[in-house]
Amino acid sequence: MIEPKFEASVGMSRKWDAREAGREVAETAIKNLSRPPDFFLLFSTIHYEKYGGFQEFLNGVWDVLPEGTPLIGGTVAGFTNPQGCYTRGATALAVSYSNIDVAVGVGNNTRKNPKKAADECSKSIIAQLAESNYPTKLLIDIIPGPTMPSFPGVGSHWVISNPLVARVAPKLLEMSVKKFQLGQGLEDDVIEYLAEDLKDHIIFGGSSSDDNKLVTNYQFVGMEIKKHSLLGMGLSTDLKFNYAHTDGLSPTGIKFKITKTSQGSRIIKSLEGKSASDTFFRKIGIPLELLDDRILRTTFFYPLGFYSSDGRICPNAIGCVLKNYLALNYSIKGDYIELFKASGKTLIGAVNEAIELLPIKNPKFGFIISCLARLEALGIGVFKEKEILDNYFKNSPYLLVYMGGENTSFPNENPHHYNETFNILVA
């Protein structure tokens, strides 16, 4: 019996020119493969928007990549691979394997209609892989991540202290999301609908992002650049995947009863019957009058979160403070939120924890999705994460991307969308 041939390779470019970077990332990704890739995951930081544009970047990739190679990807805040840690550049993971069937699906306008986008994407993948009989079904997804809406008369800020603007901001935010597709990404809705359609699939993905300014982000599929589209890479294969999820957070026991919400529980208006923002910030010792746009850095080590029905911690980043209200990244479930805590040490420790959870000790390759908030909090500490990953993967290729949100779903388990987590998939 002939052993099925598996190869994986990671490529990279640090060139500034979009076309040259596209060529280089593709060249370096496929040069070590003995046959053309069966699928190609492509990521870049936002910088090519100003240095030639993403269409030129993608054109450069296709100057090199064999025509018809299944390709999805998007913009990310940064990445780590065996060559180093970077918050500027492009990277790719190319895989070729004899026992794999691949399909790409697209669902448009995720914020306008998350269900329709999920259905579009999943139906296409199901149809394309209908004849495939391999036992493992995996969907890698990229969902457009959150962007900061612009509030009239105020501009884009994390903290809105003007009471008049803040009072109407929830309505403006809802309109901004549905009509202009700016604001929260509604990724939690998308992943729920995807999981309904693809019950037998492992789903592993993240939200595209920029450099944490949350102005814009892009998705790449085939030869096209998208801005508001869900992308899915469906894999049907006999590879066995293992997965681990950690966050480096620990509960403080400080809980708040949610007494009023809006926007599908994405905005918390009151906690314990009082102003949500005042109640929360008073608890962590930050007077509201001193609060400024450094909110993410201030609150990251005290993230809010809730427990899902299956007992998982679901950390939820605070997107912005609208005077008395807290606008979160995705919907809160349940009646309580809890304050969690983290430190640089526990965030890095989460990488070790994840690796210890994995039964595979000699992986063929790894794909890791971590939150850009972890990158922002760790800064230079990501080089320590890399040391841990290098030690685990040894000579096998791996790619870690820092995205604006992370999602997973498994057969017979609830789907999850998270912030601030570390998720590793290995084969």
Binding site: R88, N212, E376, G379
Partner: protein
């Protein structure tokens, strides 16, 4: 006669590393410096104009900070930073020296992401310095 074999470069490679760093939106200025001296500047037009009005006071503060760097670098001091008005100044010390890669960024910048590229620049500069030291050390006697 003594010939010194080395690599003569038209552009200072360290300046090219600084040029790359300066292309990032939130890096307003960057340099390799030590107390009372800027060793290497980016090769283009210099710093971004936002820095001009505050440069004098930042430079004075930098020189005071280099006093600390000089004292503690041998003990393993790696990074320092301070905030002055609406700016932060980041120092990435070259190990066992009194010099550092210095950058000026806006106070609300996403510093975590910038730190990664500062570290990459420090590593690249250290590699260049190592290569330059090796090149200077090759001497042929004729």
């Amino acid at each position: 006669m003594i010939y010194i074999l080395g690599v003569l470069l038209k552009d200072d490679p360290i300046a090219l590393v600084l040029d790359d760093l300066l292309k990032l939106d939130d890096i307003l200025a960057c340099m390799v410096a030590r107390r009372n001296m800027i060793s290497v500047m980016p090769s283009g037009d210099g710093f971004k104009p936002e820095v001009n009005q505050i440069w004098d006071i930042i430079k004075r503060a930098m020189d005071d900070v280099f006093g600390v760097i000089g004292a503690y670098s041998p003990a393993g001091l790696g990074e320092m930073e301070f905030r002055l008005q609406e700016y932060e100044v980041l120092f990435y010390v070259f190990p066992d020296t009194e010099s550092a890669l210095v950058a000026i960024v806006p106070a609300l910048a996403n510093k975590g992401l910038l730190e990664v590229e500062m570290e990459n620049a420090r590593r690249e500069i250290l590699k260049i310095m190592g290569e330059q030291d090796t090149a200077k050390g090759i001497v042929v006697h004729a």
